[in-house]
Symmetry: C2
Subunit: 499 residues, 2 copies
C-alpha cells in the first residue's frame, strides 16, 4: 500500500525556483498574509494532516465504501473524525473572504492544499471539494441575505454543499434538464425532480448540506436558455442561523462504482423541496459556467494526484522486488536477482510516472497563478485584466483537464504494471489508484468534451487570445532565473529520489 509522503521538495522547487510565487503573492491585493513563512507553514501543516490523517484512510475507505440505508449515508470508518479535524484546522476557508470567516489567502494555496489532500485520499477530498462550487456560486451570485446565511458555515466546513446538475437523461447536455421549479408565491420555489451522480449529496460528515440545483421555471424557454439556479438546503435555516425543518430532498440511493468508493455518489430526489432562486431567472447555466474552468482544473489535479501516488507506490517496490538480471549486466551481484528498478522497461515506467507528476504539477501551478490574477482583477475592478486572464485560463483548462487526467490514468496503470501480478491484488493498493483515477476522464466533461471545448470554443477566432498568449510566453520561466545554473549542476541530487 503506497505510504503517501507529501512531495514538499518538488512543490517548493516549483513555487520558489520556477514560478517565483513569493513575488507573485507580493503583487496580489489582500495577500499580505501570504508571506513565504506563512505559505511554508501551510504546506507543512497540510503535509502532516495528509500523511497522518487522510492517507491511512485511503485503502480502508475503498474497502468499506459508503453504505446506504433509507436515505441515510454512512461514510467509512474514520472519515467523520478526519473531516472534523479538517474543519477544526480551518482548511475549508483558506482562500475565502475573512468577512465569512475565511483566511482570504490566494486561490492558488487552496489548489496546493487540494493537490496534497487529493493525493492522500481522493475520495475524502470530494466532500469538501464539492462545497467549493457551492460556495463560489453563492458568493458570486447570491443576495446579501443568502451570503450571510450560507457562507459562514460553508466556509468553516460545518456545512457542506453540492452541485446538482446531472439527471438520468442528461449529463453533458444540460439543455435536457427536466427538474421543475414552481413559484410558491412567497418568493420561494417548489423544486421537483431527480438528480443523479451527486457527489456528497448525502453523508454523515456535516450538520447540513446545501444543494445548488439546476431547474426550470414553468414558463422557461426550452434548452439551455431556460435553466435557473436554486439553493436547496437539506435543513431549512432559521433566521438566527440555526437548523429548522427538514426539507423534502432525500437521497434515493448511492451508486456502486468502480472506484472512489468512499465518496458518496447519490441519486437525489427533490419532492417539492423548498428552494431559493440564485442569480437571474433562466441564466443558471451561464452562472454555472463561470466556475467551469476552476472545477475542471480541480479535476485535472486528480490526474496529478494519481500519477504521484502511483509513483510513490511503485518506486519502493521496484527497489525491493528482485527478478532476473539486468540486460546491461548484473547489478546486485550479492543477491539472487537484480532489483526491478534495474530493468529498462521498469525505469521507463517509473520515469514516465514521475515526468507526468512533475510536469502536471508545473502546468497546474502556472495556471493557479492566473486564477490568483483573476481574483485580483475582481477586487481591483479591472474588467479588461480579468478578461485577459480568464481567456488564458480558459484556453489552458481543457488541455489541463483532458491531458493530465488521461496521463494520470496511464500512470496509475503503469504503477500496477511495475507490480506485475501483485498490482492486481487489492491489498497492495495499486489497483485502487487505477480504479479511482478512472473517473477523472469521465466527470467534469469527458476527454472528448474537453477536445470540443478546446477546438470548438477556445481556439475559435474570437477567443484566439489563448493560443497567442501561449506563443508569446517565454519558453521556460526557470531559464531566466539566476539560480538556474546552480540547479543545473545538481542533477545527481534530483536523481537520488528515483534511485
Amino acid at each position: 500500500m503506497p505510504q503517501y509522503k507529501a512531495p514538499l521538495r518538488d512543490v517548493r522547487f516549483l513555487l520558489n525556483e520556477v514560478f517565483d510565487y513569493s513575488a507573485h503573492y507580493a503583487q496580489q491585493p489582500n495577500a499580505e498574509d501570504a508571506t513565504p513563512d506563512m505559505v511554508d507553514a501551510i504546506l507543512e501543516g497540510c503535509a502532516t494532516f495528509c500523511e497522518e490523517v487522510l492517507a491511512p484512510l485511503n485503502l480502508s475507505g475503498d474497502q468499506e465504501g459508503c453504505t446506504f440505508n433509507d436515505g441515510v449515508v454512512t461514510t467509512p470508518k474514520g472519515f467523520k473524525e478526519a473531516y472534523a479535524e479538517y474543519v477544526a484546522g480551518g482548511w475549508q476557508g483558506i482562500s475565502h473572504p475573512k468577512q465569512y470567516g475565511g483566511q482570504e489567502l490566494p486561490m492558488s494555496l487552496n489548489l496546493l492544499k487540494s493537490e496534497m489532500m487529493g493525493t492522500a485520499n481522493w475520495s475524502f477530498t470530494m466532500y469538501p471539494g464539492l462545497s467549493l462550487g457551492c460556495m463560489n456560486t453563492i458568493f458570486q451570485f447570491g443576495s446579501d441575505e443568502q451570503k450571510n446565511t450560507y457562507m459562514p458555515p460553508l466556509v468553516s466546513g460545518e456545512w457542506t454543499g453540492t452541485m446538482c446538475l446531472t439527471e438520468p437523461q442528461c449529463g453533458t447536455d444540460l439543455g435536457q434538464v427536466k427538474t421543475k421549479a414552481e413559484p410558491k408565491g412567497d418568493g420561494t420555489y417548489k423544486i421537483t425532480g431527480t438528480k443523479i451522480f451527486i457527489s456528497a449529496g448525502e453523508h454523515d460528515l456535516s450538520e447540513n448540506i446545501i444543494h445548488i440545483v439546476l431547474a426550470r421555471l414553468p414558463d422557461a424557454p426550452k434548452g439551455t436558455r431556460g435553466i435557473s439556479l436554486f439553493i436547496v438546503p437539506k435543513f431549512l435555516v432559521n433566521k438566527d442561523g440555526s437548523l429548522g425543518e427538514r426539507n423534502t430532498v432525500k437521497a434515493g440511493a448511492i451508486e456502486h462504482k468502480m472506484g472512489i468508493r468512499a465518496s458518496a455518489t447519490c441519486v437525489m430526489n427533490f419532492d417539492e423541496a423548498i428552494g431559493y432562486m440564485i442569480a437571474e431567472p433562466n441564466k443558471g447555466l451561464e452562472a454555472m459556467f463561470t466556475f467551469m474552468n476552476t472545477a475542471r482544473i480541480g479535476t485535472a489535479v486528480q490526474g496529478l494526484a494519481h500519477a504521484e501516488l502511483s509513483y510513490q507506490g511503485s518506486l519502493p517496490y521496484a527497489k525491493e522486488r528482485r527478478s532476473m538480471r539486468a540486460l546491461s549486466g548484473k547489478k546486485d551481484g550479492d543477491q539472487i536477482a537484480d532489483a526491478l528498478i534495474w530493468h529498462a522497461d521498469v525505469r521507463r515506467m517509473l520515469l514516465t510516472q514521475r515526468a507526468v507528476a512533475e510536469g502536471a504539477r508545473a502546468m497546474i501551478y502556472h495556471s493557479a497563478k492566473i486564477a490568483d490574477n483573476m481574483v485580483a482583477c475582481v477586487s481591483k475592478g479591472d474588467k479588461t485584466g480579468y478578461e485577459k486572464f480568464d481567456n488564458e485560463l480558459g484556453f489552458y483548462t481543457p488541455i489541463l483537464k483532458g491531458f493530465i487526467t488521461e496521463m494520470g490514468l496511464e500512470c496509475a496503470n503503469l504503477g500496477m504494471q511495475v507490480f506485475g501480478g501483485h498490482g492486481y491484488i487489492k491489498e497492495h493498493g495499486m489497483e485502487q489508484i487505477a480504479r479511482d483515477a478512472r473517473i477523472s476522464t469521465l466527470y467534469e466533461g469527458t476527454t472528448g468534451i474537453q477536445a470540443l471545448d478546446l477546438l470548438g470554443r477556445k481556439t475559435r477566432p474570437a477567443r484566439q487570445e489563448g493560443p497567442r498568449l501561449l506563443q508569446a510566453r517565454p519558453a521556460m520561466e526557470v531559464a531566466d532565473r539566476p539560480d538556474h545554473a546552480a540547479r543545473q549542476q545538481g542533477p545527481r541530487h534530483r536523481e537520488r529520489r528515483l534511485l
Copy 2:
C-alpha cells in the same frame, strides 16, 4: 450490461473468406471430422452455450465473487451448473485424442471455442482453461500410466488441472523457485512449499484437481536448471481410477483482485504432499516452455474478447443515448438531441474497438492455423516442419500477447468512455470489462516480458526465421481469393453493423 452475441458472421468471414480454413482442415491428418458442416455446428452450439449459459453469469459472477472458508472455495451461483453443462457438452476435449475420450478435432477449433466462451465470461473460462496446460503437460511428458490415469477425466472435464509455477518471491524469474521435492524412496516425492496466484487451484466445480507443480529436488542445481515437474493430485487416485486419500495440498486463501473475481486465484500450500515426477529431473522448466506459446496466445485471446465485449456493450448505448447535436449538423431532428453515435469522437472510439476486435481475431486465427500445422507435423513425425512452424508461432506469440492485450485494455477503457459517467457504475457492466481486462497485460508474462522475448530471443540471429517468414508472407491473403472483389463491393453491408 452487454448482452453477448457470438459474432458468427465475423468469425465465418475470417474462416471462409480470409483464411480458407476448409482447405486448411482438408490438409490436416486425422482431421477428417472437421468438415465445414461439423465446424459450423460446433460454432453454432458454442454460440448458444455462450449466449444462454455463460454470458448471463458474467455480471453476477463478478458481483458475488468466489468465497473462501477453511480451504474450501465456493464459486459464484450458477457456475457449478454451467460447468456441468460444459462437461456434458463435451467441450473440454474437442481437440484432445480420441484415445482419452476427446474428439481429436484441430487445435484451432479449441481456440475458436475459447474466444467465444472467454468473451461471454472470462472468469468462467479460467477453470477449464487451466486444465489445458495440465493436460498438455501430462500428454507430452507423462508416462503411459500417468496418461491413462489422468487424461480421461481431464479430457472429459470431470477433473480440472492447474499450473503451479509462481511463488511469493518470484513469478517471471522462476529460477528463484523454492518448493522442495524429496524422494520418498518408493518412486514418489514429498512436495513442500507455497505457490501463489494459482488460478482454479481450489473450487467446487470438479471432483478432483490435478496440480502440475514446479519444485526442486534436494540435489538440484541452483536457478532454472534445477527445476523439476510433478503431478500433485488433490485426491490421490486408486488403481481403478476411483478417488483415494485426500492429499496434503490445501488452499490457504484466495486473492482479492481488481477483476476476474469469479475466477478463484489461490494460495496453495503443499505440506509433504505426494507428487509424481513428470518429464526428466531438472528439466521441468524446459518442458514448461513447450507450452508457453500456446498459453500466451490463449491470453492474447483475452484482449480480443474484451475488445469485442466492450464494443458489443458500447454500440447499443451509443445508438440509444442522446446528447447535444452532431458537429456536422442535426441528425435526429425529431428528437431532443442526436444519438451519441453521431459524434465524431464516439465514432472514433467505437471504430477503434471494432478494428481491434476484428484485427486481433484475424491475427489469432492466422496463428491458430500454425498451431494446427505443428500438431500435424508431430503426428507425421516431421521434425523440420515442426521447427519451422514453431519458430513462426514463437515469433508471433509475444506480438499477439503484448499487443492484443494492451489494445484490449484500451478498448475496454474506450467502452467505459462511450458511456460517460455511467461507464463508471457497476450495473452497466462496462467497468467490469476494464477490470477483467486489466490482468491480461500482467499474467503469462507482462508486456515488458513479451518485449524482452521478442527482441531478446525471437529476433536474435539464430531465430531470425520468424521475421523472415513474416516478410515473405503475401500482404493479405484475402487479396488472392476470387470472391474478394464481391466483398469489396459490399462496404455498406459491413457498415450496417456499426450504424
